[in-house]
C-alpha cells in the first residue's frame, strides 16, 4: 500500500514537471491521473488497489465512532437504572487475527463496545479475555464482534 501511494505521489510530481506548472492544483491533477494509471496497472502489484484499503480504514474509523456512542448509551442506561441487576462476568473470545496491530485494534474496538472491556490477551495471541457487563448475551456478543469488527479489520489488512 505504501509503495502504491509513493508511486502515485511520484506520478503527481512527474505531471508537474511535464506541464511546468508548480502549483498545488497541478499536483492534484497529476495525482488523479496517476490514480487512474495505478488502477489500470493494478494486476502488477502484489497487494490490491490501495484506494479500497483507504475506504476500509475510513469505514473502520466510522465504526469506532458509532460503537463509542452506542456504548455510552448502554453505560448511561445501566448506571442510571434504579436497580443494579446486571450480571457481569469474564468470557473468552477466540480470534482469528494474527498480527499485533490487528489484535490491538480489535481490543480497542471491544473496549469501546457496549458493555465489554478487554482484561487480557492470552500468550499465544489466540484468545482475548473480555469482561462483560451483562454476560447473558455473551455468545451473541461473540458473534456480533466476530461478524462486524473482525471483518472490518480483515478488510483493512487483506
Amino acid at each position: 500500500m505504501a509503495f502504491q501511494i509513493l508511486l502515485n505521489m511520484f506520478l503527481g510530481f512527474t505531471w508537474m514537471f511535464l506541464t511546468a506548472s508548480y502549483e498545488p492544483i497541478a499536483f492534484l491533477k497529476g495525482y488523479f491521473f496517476g490514480l487512474l494509471i495505478i488502477f489500470a496497472f493494478r494486476r502488477f502489484f502484489p497487494s490490491r488497489f490501495y484506494l479500497l484499503r483507504v475506504f476500509a480504514i475510513i469505514s473502520l474509523i466510522l465504526l469506532f465512532l458509532k460503537e463509542l456512542v452506542l456504548s455510552n448509551v448502554a453505560v448511561v442506561k445501566s448506571v442510571l437504572k434504579p436497580k443494579l441487576d446486571m450480571k457481569p462476568g469474564i468470557f473468552a473470545l477466540p480470534t482469528v487475527l494474527e498480527r499485533d496491530w490487528e489484535i490491538t485494534t480489535l481490543a480497542n474496538l471491544i473496549t469501546l463496545t457496549p458493555g465489554t472491556l478487554v482484561i487480557d490477551v492470552s500468550d499465544d495471541k489466540k484468545i482475548l479475555y473480555v469482561h462483560a457487563m451483562d454476560i447473558e448475551d455473551a455468545n451473541e456478543a461473540i458473534d456480533s464482534i466476530k461478524n462486524t469488527f473482525e471483518k472490518a479489520i480483515l478488510e483493512v489488512s487483506k
Binding site: 450480571k87 469474564i90 482484561i119
Partner: protein, 124 residues
Amino acid sequence: MIEIANILIVVFLLIGAFLSLVAAFGVIRLPDVYTRNHAASKSATLGVMCILIGALLYFYFIDGYFNPRIILGIVFIFLTSPVAGHLIGRAAYNSGVKLWDQSVRDDYKEVSEKKKKLAEKGNR
C-alpha cells in the same frame, strides 16, 4: 449560520458535561472495579471528546480561530483511554481484586492461576 453554530456548541458542551456526570455517578454506584472501569473508560472518553469538540467549534465560529491542537487532543484521548481502561482492568485482575459476588462466569480464572504458579516457580 451563527445561530446553528451556537446551538451545536451548546448541545456538545451539555452532552459532554452530562456524560462526565454519569461517569462520576457510575464510579460511585457500581459494585466492583471492573464495572466501574466500564463507566469511567467509556463515558468519560466521550464526555471529554464532546467538550473538546464544543470548544473547537466555539473558537472557530465565534472568534474565527481554528485550533488544530484541540483536534490532536481529541485523537489522543480517543486512542489512549481504551488502552488505559484495559491496563487498569488487567492490573486489578492480576493483583487479585475479586469480581463482584453476583458475577456469573469467569473464564480467565484458570489461566491467571496457572500464570501465577509459573511466576512463583520462577521466583524460587
